[in-house]
Amino acid sequence: MPRALCRSAVRLAAAAALALPLACSRHAVRPADPPLRADAPLAAAQEAARRDPQTGPALSLPEMIDHALSRFTFGPRPGDRERVAKLGLAAFFEEQLHPEHLRDDAAQASLARYRPVSASPAEMMESLLDRRRQRREGMAMEEPAGPGGPIVGELAQAKLVRAVASERQLLEVMADFWFNHFNVYGAKGRVRALLPSYERDVIRRHALGSFRELLLGTARHPAMLVYLDNWRSSSPEPPARVRRARRRPKRPARRGLNENYARELLELHTLGVDGGYTQADVTEVARCFTGWTVAGIDGDPRFAFRLGRHDGGEKRVLGTVIEAGGGEGDGEAVLEMLMRHPSTARFIATKLVRRFVADDPPLDLVERVAGAFSRTGGEVRAMLRAIFASPDFWSRRALRAKVRSPLEHVVASVRALGAAVGDAVPLARAVARIGEPLYGAAAPTGYPDTADAWVSPGALLARIDFGLALAEGKLRGVSVDLAPLAAAEPERVLQGAQVLLGTGDLSPRTRSFVLEKLREAPAKARAARAVGLLLGAPEVQRR
């Protein structure tokens, strides 16, 4: 009897999942957010200079191109600046907003070697459990270093290959942003086997789509359900009717409410810590999500709703009553409520502006982006357009205002040199050494997005040393060709390196210091020395 109940619950869940796209298309009837006008960036830059004259003249076009490429891509490769100049900033941005129209054959081809990129959760779980079994029986080699074992290792390499080589740069930037927003930790138990599907089927799929899809998708994905323990959360007591019918279970299931997901859903995914909810709301939300669990965890892991674990009583969330007997719909009602809540719009807007504009997000712009969220029901493209068309983004204050994260620094350096990546392992190691092991943020907050988190003394040394190693071609599997920089005069070597690395604006002091160091070096080592010094220079740690 209870088993039959469970089965019908799974069927219900499957039906609900099928119905989802329909439910969403209802929301999508809003008029689409129009593409940016070609003159929008320039007009915004001029407006910024008018509003804030003491910061200096409006950004020049080359400055605007560098700024855009440093924020909405992982940094320019040789030739990118010229391409954007020809295309126009607004057209470039619209192109990046629609990656499905961008050919990306080279990057896609080099991803084929990473199995997690395409493997199903069932396949990943099988290989994880196989490896554990072998290890138990003493047959397997030690797992490679790093949290999460080989699956996470390969996923990290694939992420680096994409960030370096993909033409769909904004997609990669947003995939990184949303993964970090809805962070799950690769080394927590079985999560590592669920991670590839989580990233591919939820995060990447909707990275430029809508926040609603991201929220609904993460809420149901086994990776999130396991990471934040909701799959084990249940009403403390089975409902009376089920209890009477229950035969002796094989193993007494541990029962009880787990608030982990509910708390992070409110604090980190939607409203924000000051978004206006109480501990009572956390508990009530947790009750709504009881029964949202994972079926077939060690076989074919997938979302399931189990009525037998669900708390069927009435709940009260953020002042709204959710009537008894709503079943799986309780959780859906909560997600809808959170989607419509103004705190969610503001919280997501704040995080986006912090990522793309400044550590201290300008409040005007946050309001504009939050407005785009509310107007479009959380369309990511509309929010990004609001940023790209804003004077705050094109203000001179925003130029190089952000410290690059370790991932951004490593990838931008490799891209700037036009280096070919045959093996991404040394890059993954460098990113970890500089302080951001990929998929290795243990806390649900993900990695921080402000300068203070990234410039600790040890991390700074690792950054500088990485630049020296890269410039000298000492990273195995990453080939750097600096021959085009070779020149008789140190001034010309430096100038070439400055162009490559986008550091036309070095302070005179830095410039003369580097020149002095170049004169001390033998001619054939000057290119590598110039690049090594510049990659480690304070200006280059910023974007």
Binding site: R433, G458, L468
Partner: protein, 395 residues
């Protein structure tokens, strides 16, 4: 005054202050859930009943049924020490090593992930804490002002040091280095030139603060520590890390807090062999650390703790599963050692935590707070909301 002279003066003043022989607290984190019941073992027939295939026989009584399992070492009446911890026995007898048994966190979680967070943040049950307990202890103490005031020998800054902006995290002292500039001299000379070049490059920049700390730390390591032995340590990565901590202490660099982590305690399967190997490494590493410290031993207190213990019963794969109470140890010149502290909860069915694990009768925070007060003078505020009494394992 040029930058070089400034650094030299700074070094000299650190040296002066170091003459005050400031104390150092070393936190040895044992993540993975160490089986305290295998480290210091009560002579209790119920334990052998619950662990027939993994328990070691009582001191002097080799079990006929398990010739591969050595007998426990005699510690005090009714207690035996794991045979692989042989090297700790002299320290225990000399009175510089103490255990605290049945210690744990007041949280029912059996998730490594949660329990490790709770331990490192120092706030069991609360994960939103922004800083770690070591960082708070450091903030509440008088700073040494040294760029090597807080050193974590780990790749990333551990959560226990979150919120400590100057904490220097590096996988090993040997990894804290800048390679020479291309085309310049190699070796130490090249590294020095490289460091000086970047030091000058960062002067006056917006990142000058952390850069200054980084280069000062690097210079201090190069000048004071000298050659850092490379290659594997006989006692594993923790042995290497502890040897480096000892080197920092002896070099008087103003080290107040050191963090070292040694994992591998999650013995769900094949526990006897696995645990013997790991404990032998740990015991050897601690004994070597003690020997290295020599005359500085009185200034140092090392405390070791794990996030939780393991089940009292063995499981189906010759291992144990995640449990609750475990053991902690303290090593130092001021430790009132040669003793096992704590209140023994017993192993009866009603005495086990939730009927399956060793209970935790001593709050881990009491153990750690005792250490932060003694070494750093940080009395309250290290463990927010905790007001329990300190323990008596220090002289």
């Amino acid at each position: 005054m040029n930058r070089r002279t400034f650094l030299h003066l700074a070094l000299a003043s650190f040296a002066l202050r170091a003459q005050e022989r400031r104390r150092t607290l070393v936190f040895l984190f044992l993540p993975g859930g160490l089986d305290g019941l295998s480290v210091v073992v009560p002579d209790d027939p119920r334990l052998v009943e619950m662990r027939p295939a993994i328990a070691h026989p009582a001191p002097g009584k080799p079990a006929a049924s398990a010739p591969d399992r050595e007998a426990l070492l005699p510690l005090e009446s009714g207690l035996g020490l794991h045979p692989s911890l042989r090297e700790l026995l002299p320290l225990y007898r000399d009175g510089v090593l103490a255990f605290v048994h049945a210690v744990g966190q007041p949280s029912p979680t059996r998730s490594h992930f949660d329990a490790q967070d709770y331990l490192e943040l120092g706030t069991p049950g609360v994960k939103s804490t922004r800083d770690g307990w070591l960082a708070r202890a450091l903030r509440l103490s008088s700073p040494s002002g040294s760029p090597l005031e807080a050193v974590a020998l780990s790749q990333a800054l551990p959560r226990s040091l979150y919120g400590s902006p100057r904490a220097f995290a590096v996988s090993s002292l040997g990894a804290a280095r800048l390679r020479p500039l291309a085309g310049g001299p190699r070796g130490a000379e090249g590294r020095t030139l490289s460091r000086e070049a970047f030091d000058a490059l960062y002067l006056g920049s917006s990142l000058a603060g952390p850069a200054h700390d980084a280069f000062a730390a690097l210079e201090m390591i190069e000048r004071r520590i000298g050659e850092i032995p490379k290659g594997p340590n006989p006692y594993g990565p923790a042995g290497r890390a502890l040897r480096e901590v000892a080197a920092l202490v002896k070099a008087d660099v103003g080290l107040r807090v050191a963090f070292v982590s040694a994992g591998g305690w999650d013995t769900h399967a094949g526990q006897p062999g696995e645990l013997s190997r790991r404990l032998a490494g740990l015991g050897g590493a601690l004994a070597a650390f003690w020997k290295e410290l020599g005359p500085r031993a009185d200034d140092v207190l090392l405390v070791a703790a794990t996030e939780f213990g393991r089940t009292a019963r063995q499981n189906g794969s010759l291992g144990t599963d995640h449990g609750h109470g475990s053991i902690a140890l303290a090593l130092g010149g001021r430790v009132a050692g040669g003793k096992v502290y704590g209140r023994w909860p017993g192993l009866g069915p009603a005495e086990l935590y939730e009927g399956r694990d060793l209970d935790a009768t001593t709050d881990l925070r009491a153990f750690l707070a005792t250490a932060t007060e003694a070494q750093l003078g940080a009395t309250s505020g290290v463990f927010p909301g905790y007001t329990g009494a300190k323990l008596s394992y220090l002289r």
